[in-house]
């Protein structure tokens, strides 16, 4: 009994972490899908979301759903601008230039925003918009924060799936990711579709940033690096470019992190994650859900 409740409790912990990773991983995977670009600046959009929410909550007394809405609009705008300024001029350049630019954008965001008159390089306590409540369900406990994370993640996923599989824009995205040139011949506006992908991905990262800072109430300009890397691994694990793969990857990474710390030791945690990644790539080079072999 004790063991079962312990297992369940760790599952809840893992889900909490995994849900946030999934939200960030979606952005990586979507951008990769349409541009074949690993957008390293994505983790920093996540950080930007956390900071915008921080200023909204601490400076203006507005309800939490508005915090989510405004933050999503702001990070979406940031994603749009980054794509237009940094990536679009390189549309026909070699892919390596795009990759290096992505690293540059990431470093720029981190160090520019860490200037004294902007976000500063300090660790800031994130004001939680509500008090924590712990619900004891006899077998395990769950907090209202965890419930909110599960709910918001689930809603975002449903909306995203609707967008991608039920709308014309989603169809365009899938077409661009399948074959950009042929999609263009079919009359799809490539630039607009790519912009939309960035906007959606960045909005999700913004949501991830808020949820993450509510759960772990401390923010700083470098907070996006580690979750960014972990989510990127999640996206690769699930099969980069595949939406439901990113979700599964995020959950697997979150779960294994918690279980390794809970059953082995924190020092093994990252090692185990990379072993999982290694094994998956060895057995299935295109990830868990990866089907098609990349075009050359």
């Amino acid at each position: 009994m004790e063991t079962i409740s312990y297992l369940l409790q760790q599952c809840v912990n893992g889900l909490q972490l995994g849900a946030v990773y999934a939200l960030i991983a979606l952005g990586y995977t979507m951008v990769y899908g349409v541009l074949r670009l690993i957008n390293f600046a994505h983790g920093d959009i996540f950080m930007l979301g956390a900071f915008i929410a921080y200023y909204l909550i601490s400076k203006f007394d507005i309800p939490i759903y508005l915090v989510f809405a405004i933050t999503m609009v702001c990070t979406a705008a940031a994603g749009y601008i980054i794509e237009k300024v940094a990536y679009k001029p390189l549309r026909n350049a070699p892919r390596i230039s795009l990759l290096i630019t992505a690293v540059g954008v990431s470093l720029f965001l981190e160090y520019f925003l860490s200037l004294k008159f902007l976000f500063t390089a300090n660790y800031i306590g994130f004001p939680r918009p509500f008090e924590v409540q712990v619900y004891d369900l006899s077998l395990f406990t769950v907090t209202n924060i965890q419930l909110i994370i599960f709910a918001v993640t689930a809603v975002s996923l449903v909306l995203l799936f609707l967008l991608i599989y039920k709308t014309k824009y989603g169809k365009a995205m899938r077409a661009v990711s399948y074959d950009q040139e042929v999609a263009a011949l079919m009359g799809i506006n490539i630039d607009a579709t790519i912009s939309l992908t960035f906007i959606v991905g960045a909005a999700l990262a913004g949501v991830g940033g808020i949820l993450y800072s509510i759960a772990y109430p401390q923010i700083n300009v470098f907070m996006g690096i580690m979750p960014g890397i972990k989510s990127f691994i999640a996206a690769v694990l699930g099969g980069i470019g595949i939406i439901h793969g990113a979700v599964l990857g995020g959950l697997v990474i979150g779960m294994s992190e918690v279980f390794v710390s809970g059953f082995l030791s924190s020092t093994f945690r990252d090692g185990v994650i990379f072993i999982i990644l290694f094994l998956v790539l060895l057995l299935k080079p295109s990830g868990i859900f990866g089907k098609r072999i990349e075009k050359v």
Binding site: L17, N122, V132
Partner: protein
């Protein structure tokens, strides 16, 4: 007319430059390495304030004119080492005051010692700051006690005063300070008849501790020892309480920051930590310092301010008494320091250059830190 102007100008120049040469004191450069940004910036701010205050006071009566050079190490060992090299080779400082944290102080002490430049840290408590492989670094001193002592006192306090039998220890595996305290706490707690039911580590960038906390929770420890800096402590404490753990939180001097309560809130209230000094201390030297510091910076000085003030003052005293203001003479004098009356109590350097002094234990209350007791070495 033109000539007259020329002559008077020349006179003026002679007065200015020649004159100043007669009256001016010799300029001595000293460097401060401290974390002004990053995860422990409140330590660095306190240290800088106290350092500046000490320099200003010295300027009124000291033999030399001090030119301070302040650098930021961001609590990053690489940044600290770079700053030390710059201070020594480029700015040619006579001595280095700092760094605040052990993990930065260890590499900086190696550099200072190799370049024969005296270094005094106020607060770096890890044994490896003044020794390496059991060998003394002759140019390095510190104004505080070391971790074996702090961890031991923490464990004894948890056993005797708080009267607890089981303890869990959570520490940062990549931080010398945190690791050192955890080890000494564990050995003393076990020797004293208690049981350490969980000994878990995490990594520097971690923010999610749910895995290890849930694991620790199944052991139901009476005491949870978290020897880390305030930022991490506040995050861990919150998650400890959210997971329903009831144990008393105990920690080390890294807890001493106003941010601990700001971020940690109710989760940290009721915890105890070992520290170097308490602003409640009744002592003329301390009261005088606290009064002046409050007047200047509008806050009550914390441990980091008090110790950095002491460290700077010890150095300035040695500088004034030295026959020549060079590194060798100053180190000679520092080694003989006995019964110096500092803000944080009486101190003498032992043969390792570590200060011998008492530990203060503070409790975290809603409004701030309250003095509990003093333990003498």
């Amino acid at each position: 007319m033109k000539k007259a102007v020329h002559i008077s100008l020349m006179l003026l120049v002679v007065c200015l430059f020649g004159g100043s040469h007669v009256f001016a004191k010799e300029i001595i450069r000293i460097g401060l390495i401290t974390p002004l940004t990053g995860d422990v910036k409140t330590y660095g701010e306190s240290a800088k304030n106290a350092f500046n205050m000490a320099i200003e006071e010295y300027a009124k009566k000291g033999k030399y004119k001090i030119q301070p050079i302040i650098t930021d190490d961001r609590n990053d060992p690489t940044e600290g080492a770079n700053a030390a090299l710059k201070l020594i080779t480029q700015d040619r400082v006579v001595a280095i005051i700092g760094p605040v944290t052990s993990k930065v102080a260890i590499p900086v002490s190696e550099i200072a010692n190799a370049n024969r430049i005296p270094m005094i840290s106020g607060t770096a408590t890890n044994p490896k700051v003044t020794t390496s492989d059991g060998k003394r670094k002759p140019y390095v001193f510190r104004a505080c006690y070391i971790d074996p002592f702090q961890g031991t006192i923490g464990a004894r306090f948890a056993l005797k005063q708080v009267k607890r039998k089981t303890a869990a220890v959570l520490y940062d595996v990549g931080n010398d300070y945190s690791k050192g305290l955890a080890e000494y706490f564990r050995s003393t707690f076990t020797k004293g008849g208690g049981t350490v039911v969980a000994y878990e580590c995490y990594q520097k960038d971690d923010v999610d501790f749910s895995g290890i906390i849930t694991k620790v929770g199944t052991k139901r420890p009476d005491v949870i020892y978290i020897p880390d800096y305030y930022n991490k402590v506040a995050l861990i404490a919150k998650q400890v309480r959210e997971k329903g753990l009831k144990g008393v939180l105990v920690g080390g001097d890294g807890w001493d920051s106003p941010e601990l309560l700001k971020i940690g809130g109710n989760a940290v209230v009721g915890g105890y930590f070992t520290n170097h000094y308490s602003p409640d201390r009744k002592d003329p030297v301390a009261e005088d310092f606290i009064k002046k510091y409050k007047a200047k910076y509008k806050v009550v000085p914390d441990t980091f301010a008090a110790l950095k003030y002491d460290a700077t003052m010890i150095f300035l005293k040695a500088l004034d008494e030295a026959k020549k203001p060079n590194s060798q003479e100053i180190v000679k004098l520092l080694g003989t320091l006995k019964n110096y009356k500092g803000v944080t109590g009486n101190m003498s350097f032992d043969r390792n250059g570590d200060a011998v002094k008492s530990v203060v234990i503070l409790r975290v209350d809603k409004g701030g830190f309250k003095y509990v007791t003093t333990v003498n070495p």
